[in-house]
Symmetry: C2
Subunit: 586 residues, 2 copies
């Protein structure tokens, strides 16, 4: 029905007869003629109707925004002075000789080019997605997946599909359950990841696997989470953690080059311990120049309990951020920052402003300056590498509270004071995570229970549970965890040891992981893998911080699809067939 | 950990030092040496251990089948007379200088190279998938998807993901439901296809869409059905049915050329009516030379009610299959065929054997010959194009029973008598399906309720419901429906007319399809699409008729995963959180 897309026309088509299909983007009447901007997937072109072609001109009088039309016409160069160099097709226009109104449009329920609420945009998604800025994102997304697939294919990774109707697994977040009609009272689970299936594929000798695959998590949603999300899922045999990181880093570097023509360079590698110490986060945004500086040794003897106590507690931490130019911060701003970090458990925000670094205690301004000797203060300023006009902001509490609070404060101040260069790219690897972390209900695996410890036998692991380091790695870009993975356990005794440490008793091990423990008995190869969050990569590569902008039909933060109105009550007959009842609300 | 795959070694590597990783496929001790066939993803190579390399040799004595090992060694040409040209690596072998046993294997729970029950194969899938014939299928499957993606990308189709957690739709088969935790008592449905989302994408101006995507159907399973299956899903705007068929036929033709180096040629196009008349099926296997021949006009006056009644009933049909060489069939075989077609409602199987075509009534043998005059018999034999030694097999009943029975019998006899050339490829398009079919509960859409009628206005459709032809098309290869699609309705009034005909009242229309009816008001483009069954295409291209051989982790016909033992009872706490109860069994 068309000979070319609107957006593909240029001066090389002048004098050609063309047939175009698309939508009326805008109409204006000028000098006895009717002009429209006609839009299709590839762009916009100016079409005009001349009374000389009477039937087309008469029909054009009926055109309104978003009518779906077909026109036939002739391309011509725009007259001198009417050329629009801001528009890809701005040097030409099309004189319409025929017009067919394919489908009319009522007045739109939302304003096409203005800001609408996100609720409106999601409800009328079919109109929101017509906006060129939205369709551009999905073109980029398709370009990303095509590139990733090509890279993986070329590197010998085999694209294998794993099931969506699987067995429930205890991977930390909650499973979506699917009642079975054949086996009444039993349930499938939608996969949180294809973890065990990809490990089974390695046990089957597939050697290198990948899949771009939907995963599901029924958890409380945040701005950058969705109930269903897409993972670039990778697993390899006979490769070390370093091998996996090398090839995956190559993928991401080439992806950035392909999409943005930007060279990310070689990724620094940082241990979890160092990341927590310097940045208070296991996904540090390295574009932010602020670093957390430990000062427990400097303050351990001062007469200020708030500092001295954690400074002398092996589980405590006293540290600071030195903010350049921060001496300008008002009392109100400092109070707001104190409130901001209180959600991380911090009980206050001590500060020291540096007015004259050479004037000793007289050169600083601070409610806590009185607790310091001149020598202690000098030592502190030196450690912080402070300069005139800076402010020191302190955290003093348990290690966790200080790291979390100063880690978050660092990001906030970096943005507020524009210290973070938003145009930079800062990728890195974070490695050597702890194997286990203590939670309210006992120990849990920090990565997942199939992660191998680094250089430990089962016995050694058993004796060093909290100190044990996992052979795991996360890829972080600009403070987003874009991917993570690990070397997996490939020996039955080690897997059982980890299950035991996690308090999974033998019966539960058999029930939930019997097939894995069995499979580990038949010559399982060493294997390792990784998964990237495709939605996050796409957010970074399309410059949005709203995950719903890179998913065609997303859910709200209440897990609702406003377009189709899902979820919805089920047909009672269907529920009866599934042998389930809805519990009435109180 | 490896320098090259086992299966990649050949004479060009002679004298090279290599490191290999893989599994012991077979071991044999011979002449004081230990030989193993070592296997990895790419194939098998012979490795031998010489006592000269003592530590490797001593360790090799421990090797058993399926041990996972790493060896270092030197490639050498096999001695004259020991070369094996059946094996890709048969001209060389590797002298192992180092051996590392990475992981031992217990005695396998199934026989690696022998036939095992499918239950065993599914339960120990990690071992079954090690068999080279299985891994070869998944390599082909990955090659198919990569080719399809490349073709679609090159032809301007945009890969867009649609949701898995969707709203229930009434598409004929049953939905899998997913209870929502946030909206207690409400449910998502897993998609039977992304039909409405891909139509919405067309309304959004995406112009050409594709996706390789999981779909779900909770229905009784047959040998070639799975609860989850994979679709190559396609939708286009501004294209006619012919345009869509042309580009999709090109895809399949190029796919066959890519995978099998076979040219399928141009696909014949046949109407549904013709397919039912000539082959008794809407997915005829054209490799089978048998055709159904209508004879109602010949038998309408004979004194045999079984024939005469349906021959005179406008809803009846009398037809025959003429089977070459079929006069040899025994009474027992004919009884078996009669029984075979009884499941389609046929009440018997009348037959006429032709001994001497020139001898008139004396030349045939049949319990029903007595009802025919010589002239009628001659007319019958001519119509059937019968020859000496043939048999005529009759169906006489309602159109549906006769078509179904003779259609099925045609396939069975084609196989039994080896009339069907299994090495051929016979693709075709079937078009012009009826819009609606009568079922026990009323009218239902033969394709789906979004399919456009062919050349009818809403008023004309309303007046010709049962005669109306849909603008739908199926692609059939060797009797399998590999794909199907249609031109969709793109006008609000037509969509409402179809819903009305289907007895969906206005309230239900709003509840279930309100968003679609709304979207149709804002300049929807004409659009059409198609979906291929990837699993079926892969079955055809890998030469298996078992769908479970082309899915890495399939379900049984009872929808169970024997590997992981899914589905399984759910955690009561999880059910409580979802506000659902399992109804106790009686």
């Amino acid at each position: 029905m068309r000979s070319i897309y609107c957006g593909q026309l240029n001066v090389s088509h002048v004098n050609e007869e063309v047939t175009l299909c698309g939508w009326v983007n805008k109409r204006r009447d000028l000098g006895g003629m009717i002009f429209i901007d006609m839009r299709d997937r590839e762009g916009i072109v100016q079409v005009f109707f001349d009374p000389a072609f009477k039937s087309a001109f008469d029909l054009a009088a009926e055109l309104r925004n978003e009518f779906c039309i077909q026109i036939k016409g002739k391309v011509r160069a725009r007259p001198e002075g009417q050329r629009n160099t801001d528009m890809a097709t701005g040097e030409i226009e099309v004189l319409a000789t025929d017009l067919d109104i394919i489908n009319r449009a009522e007045i739109l329920p939302l304003d096409f080019n203005q800001n609408n609420t996100e609720e409106q945009r999601l409800k009328y998604r079919y109109i929101d997605l017509r906006r060129p800025e939205m369709s551009a994102r999905f073109k980029t997304r398709a370009k990303i997946t095509a590139f990733v697939r090509r890279f993986m294919d070329e590197n010998g990774f085999l694209d294998v599909e794993t099931p969506m109707l699987t067995k429930a697994t205890p991977e930390g977040a909650r499973d979506y359950l699917v009642p079975s009609r054949v086996h009444k009272g039993e349930f499938y689970a939608l996969p949180q990841s294809p973890q065990l299936f990809k490990q089974i594929l390695m046990m089957s000798g597939f050697d290198r696997y990948y899949q771009i695959v939907k995963c599901f998590r029924d958890e409380d949603l945040r701005a950058d989470r969705q109930p269903e999300f897409t993972q670039i899922d990778v697993e390899t045999s006979f490769m070390s953690a370093e091998n996996v990181r090398e090839i995956m880093e190559k993928l991401i570097r080439e992806l950035w080059m392909h999409i943005k023509q930007i060279d990310l360079g070689s990724f620094p590698v940082m241990t979890y311990a160092e990341a927590m110490r310097r940045f208070g986060s296991d996904k540090p945004d390295l574009r932010n120049p602020l670093e957390i500086v430990d000062v427990a040794d400097v303050v351990k003897d001062i007469d200020f309990k708030v500092f001295a106590e954690p400074a002398n507690d092996p589980k405590g931490r006293v540290a600071l951020l030195c903010v350049p130019g921060g001496a300008e911060l008002s009392r109100k701003q400092l109070d707001d920052y104190a409130k901001f970090i209180s959600v991380y458990g911090a009980k206050g925000l001590a500060w020291i402003k540096i007015n004259d670094i050479d004037a000793g205690l007289d050169g600083v301004q601070s409610p806590i300056a009185k607790f310091f000797t001149a020598q202690q203060m000098q030592q502190l300023l030196q450690r912080a590498n402070a300069k005139n006009g800076d402010i020191l902001l302190f955290g003093a509490d348990s290690q966790k509270v200080v790291s979390d609070a100063l880690g978050a404060l660092r990001l906030k101040i970096g943005k507020d004071l524009k210290l973070t260069d938003e145009n930079q790219w800062a990728p890195l690897w974070v490695i050597d995570f702890p194997m286990f972390e203590e939670t309210e209900t006992g120990l849990s695996a920090m990565h997942h229970p199939f992660t191998s410890p680094k250089d430990l036998s089962p016995d050694e692991l058993q004796c060093n549970v909290l100190e044990a380091v996992a052979n795991a790695y996360d890829m972080v870009i600009n403070g987003y965890e874009v991917g993570g993975g690990s070397v997996r356990i490939h020996k039955n005794d080690m897997q059982q040891t980890v299950f035991n440490i996690l308090g999974i008793n033998e019966q539960e091990q058999r029930e939930k992981f019997g097939f894995l423990l069995d499979a580990l008995k038949y010559g399982t190869p060493p294997h390792a893998g990784l998964a990237f969050g495709l939605d996050r990569l796409t957010m970074l590569l399309t410059g949005t911080d709203n995950i719903r902008d890179v998913i065609a039909f997303p859910k709200t933060t209440a897990a609702t699809c406003l377009l189709t109105d899902a979820p919805s009550p089920a047909n009672p007959a269907a529920l009866a067939e599934l042998a389930i009842d809805v519990v009435k609300k109180d």
